[in-house]
Symmetry: D2
Subunit: 337 residues, 4 copies
Amino acid sequence: MTLNIGLIGAGRIGVVHAATITQRIPSARLVAVADVNEAAARACAERYNVPFFTADPQAVIARPDVHAVLICSSTDTHAPLIEAAAQAGKPIFCEKPIALDLAAIDRALNAVARAGVPLQIGFNRRFDPNFERLRRAVAEGEIGEPHLLHIVSRDPAPPPIEYIKVSGGLFLDMAIHDFDMARFLLGSEIEEVHAIGAVRVDPAIGAAGDIDTAVTLLRFANGAIGTIDNSRRAVYGYDQRAEVFGSKGMAQALNNFPNQVILSTADAVRRDLPLHFFMQRYIESYQREIEAFVQAVTQGTPPPVSGEDGRIAVVIGLAAQRSLREGRPVRVQEIGA
Amino acid sequence: MTLNIGLIGAGRIGVVHAATITQRIPSARLVAVADVNEAAARACAERYNVPFFTADPQAVIARPDVHAVLICSSTDTHAPLIEAAAQAGKPIFCEKPIALDLAAIDRALNAVARAGVPLQIGFNRRFDPNFERLRRAVAEGEIGEPHLLHIVSRDPAPPPIEYIKVSGGLFLDMAIHDFDMARFLLGSEIEEVHAIGAVRVDPAIGAAGDIDTAVTLLRFANGAIGTIDNSRRAVYGYDQRAEVFGSKGMAQALNNFPNQVILSTADAVRRDLPLHFFMQRYIESYQREIEAFVQAVTQGTPPPVSGEDGRIAVVIGLAAQRSLREGRPVRVQEIGA
Amino acid sequence: MTLNIGLIGAGRIGVVHAATITQRIPSARLVAVADVNEAAARACAERYNVPFFTADPQAVIARPDVHAVLICSSTDTHAPLIEAAAQAGKPIFCEKPIALDLAAIDRALNAVARAGVPLQIGFNRRFDPNFERLRRAVAEGEIGEPHLLHIVSRDPAPPPIEYIKVSGGLFLDMAIHDFDMARFLLGSEIEEVHAIGAVRVDPAIGAAGDIDTAVTLLRFANGAIGTIDNSRRAVYGYDQRAEVFGSKGMAQALNNFPNQVILSTADAVRRDLPLHFFMQRYIESYQREIEAFVQAVTQGTPPPVSGEDGRIAVVIGLAAQRSLREGRPVRVQEIGA
Amino acid sequence: MTLNIGLIGAGRIGVVHAATITQRIPSARLVAVADVNEAAARACAERYNVPFFTADPQAVIARPDVHAVLICSSTDTHAPLIEAAAQAGKPIFCEKPIALDLAAIDRALNAVARAGVPLQIGFNRRFDPNFERLRRAVAEGEIGEPHLLHIVSRDPAPPPIEYIKVSGGLFLDMAIHDFDMARFLLGSEIEEVHAIGAVRVDPAIGAAGDIDTAVTLLRFANGAIGTIDNSRRAVYGYDQRAEVFGSKGMAQALNNFPNQVILSTADAVRRDLPLHFFMQRYIESYQREIEAFVQAVTQGTPPPVSGEDGRIAVVIGLAAQRSLREGRPVRVQEIGA
């Protein structure tokens, strides 16, 4: 059976999913695409042979031939679209974050619960082969009880200032992936965060009320302690690593490179830079998260990244924002209770 | 414009190409598939939505809607099928080796020349990102004039003895890729070979008249010296490396791994084994060689791996066989003049 | 000219220095050794051909043929011995920490200042080739302005509980090296610390009132943010790494291994464990710090690690202790003003 | 008991051993030094506090307080000095090669056999931690039966032409270490060699009748096949690696570096060049080979590198020279029978 998917949002990440579904997932098919910018919807439809396009997301949700929806539109529309799709009884895949405020998230999750539809949140990095292997090392006890976690997550360059302004800030826009990764890798909840931030990359980011450099200290329910290093600009490219240290050893996920060639000259022993950004580094994970969603929908199993997972990551992001603002450790319960 | 391709041979490598064309190359489409085993042709047609299948390769070549043919059948059929396709005026992609004897190769290449059709030989490793980068290091002078070359090419396990018996032997079946790689990397012709072989992996391979372990010493026209290490069984997986040393430095292509995770325990610092075999390691190169073929055909440019490239690799393989048999260095001219 | 050195304390680290001076530093010579355990002094004297031994440290300080003293006795004796040596006008090398309370440190440093004698503190890791190279990368601008620092410092196994009890605790006994390293690498002062600790390795350490696992968050005067990971037990051996990330790049110091051999078998690609502990890993740095001391004394130049460096590291350790106790970030000024 | 050693030859390698014995080997002591250049003998004696120096090697051999001699003089003097020392009943450590012609070697070894004195040849690389570990991997079966060997041995720069002229040529001067390493690593004798050489680095080397670039193909008695890559100039520094491939896996010894720092910038991910030359790379092995010699002499055990080992390496070098000259594989028996 082929799962017919309706795509809402034909921007950067929407197009990634359109390409993945069309070219790499034989068990799914794009049958409709919506974008408030109708030209974008049309371009996507033409490029990927999607038979229907529209400027109206509701029109996609409403179509009887749409078995499931992918919500890839702007963040502020996620929660209402989740509610609408849930009410229409459609399984939902939604990009992160669900929303920037908890009330909206809770309304959306309640709608999903009432409708009993599957909901998967787009934390694609869980499907990256490196982080999957790291998780497996922890889950299968290869390194014993986890004691310490360190995540490095640095982008090659900051997004445009206009994007920064509406992004929700570094913690909710960028570090949210790392908060989810921290929970995923350790299999334990975060109880307290202490976030420190700075503007080191671009003063315009500070002028926009955001930071571009941050360290977040995490305390886990299982007693482990974690740290996350974030920067909006690593000049050498996308830096995506993690290390878990435990009672029986350590597991480290290093970066991916475009090739395995080492050059030794009179100057240095060197290699090319790491894969530049998420489209190169995480391309495989995008395919695998959609495959997992299709499988969950068609087989009736729970999606591997739940709505609750999406909610918790936002809660931690809000706790980090408060910690940064107030200059003190913040217990997650203060936010998300 | 979409290039309609007819596939001849729906065995292991034929199916790789069928999957690649169907799923990853929007500019091409499989329109016919032949296999002497009609069930195999049918299965391939069903799996990849190919509208026509047959047990008769000529039927594929003859179809007006077939713009180009991919010859992936058994080695002994390559040369006659090249001739047939050339006579039909169809562009040709043919798996290596063209044939095991030079007379057959020359007849085929003559037919191609007379017909003026493009012919590309399936030396896919030239399209691997590691070896492409290595070639670029040499071609752009990053390591100066090349002096020494070392290629390591070891399979994870030998093929079945029945296959060994008809394979043409290690030099023409397996090392032929490395002979082509040597020429490709250095951009210079091989003038002399000295091959040493042994049966170390499985006595049955020796009983079948073949060897399973070999070293081939190469002298190049540009004065460089090369060595190739071959084994039919590396217990740790597919070992595919190369190193070029020159007047200004060295470039090394190391192996690819399924992830970049390092585990440190009380026993050792370790990582998972390299990508297991060619389907994992070279999957990207299969796509890129077909893309290059499609582009050459549709744009009228010369295919990047010529019939002559296919011929020379066989000549070197035959020289290696003679060297092994006679226990002496053999000049390539002795064979291929 | 040969510098005659008197050694006070013939325990583990004292013997390291005795061996270094005797075997590797032609410009210095051990002429006297003291240890409150006279048998230890005698054993050291015999082993390294030291002409004089005693149970009385003052007897070493007082000898006219002693040009300089190395204080390697227990921590509680460091400050009074510094005072005594300073009053005797002898140049001083003293192991870390100077003392566990600031008043004692300040008395000792005042005595040194009044006497005008050179004083060098034993932060040997500054002389490790890896960390020296890292410092150079920062100092020479290879990675631009530093934004983030991460230090990993894990011992292979905890010391005996009896030692733990008098050690001053993880921050003053173990992390003190890392606090110094953080200042050294960034060339900037630490203004605030937030320390989190846990007992994960051995409950007996907790029962002794100490922790065995810690993360310390650091804010630097230059705006950089740092984290330090500490554990008393890494089952894979001594883990001593650091990473500095800046506006123009990143520099990482990885671990040292006993050999550069990689083994690939059917199970894994692996190598032997890192150098096991400080005696293997830092042996070169011990030699180089003593060479630097000898040079400073004989040439009248300032020692490369000052008494103030020794004091600041203790201040940061005390701030970390307070932060741990009170569960909040602590400004260094609260302690060390 | 301390072993009194007399050093013959105070040139580059003689001084290395003098420093090693004086500073690092408490169980041995230099008591006499000879060099035909008496000023060199005097300088060495002064620097390392050697009580006796002379221009006459025989005077060193003859001294009753000399328990053992180290022969580090020019190659042409090795064999006669071995004979003289053997006749004097003195244990002998002699640098490689014993001599460039077999008759001289055999006279020397016969003298040693008649006298029953221990003789150790200076193949120091056997004592390098990397190659020791590689040997252990083979000897203990970690990689099963060895099938293939590859040695890379490249100097950072050629020696002066004047040295080249009297060196015996690349095979006897430089590759001789690799011939010994090949036998050592595999624990099997070399039966046939095929050497190819070229002048790629400096035409003056060719004008002097030598080559600067070579590949030697080796057949071992145990059925393994090996290759050695040599170059007189690797612009990135001293390149000293080896790889053994066997039925159960592979062991690779990689290069040593001055530090473990990785720099990632906008241009590349890079590290400093490998240790530059033998004095840096093999310093530890020089100490360990002399320790082994001292131990063999004082404990009456056989030296770990025998006179026969020294002879065989020369035989293989002569076979390689003949192979190069005659352009064919040469059986070692042709030379050394």
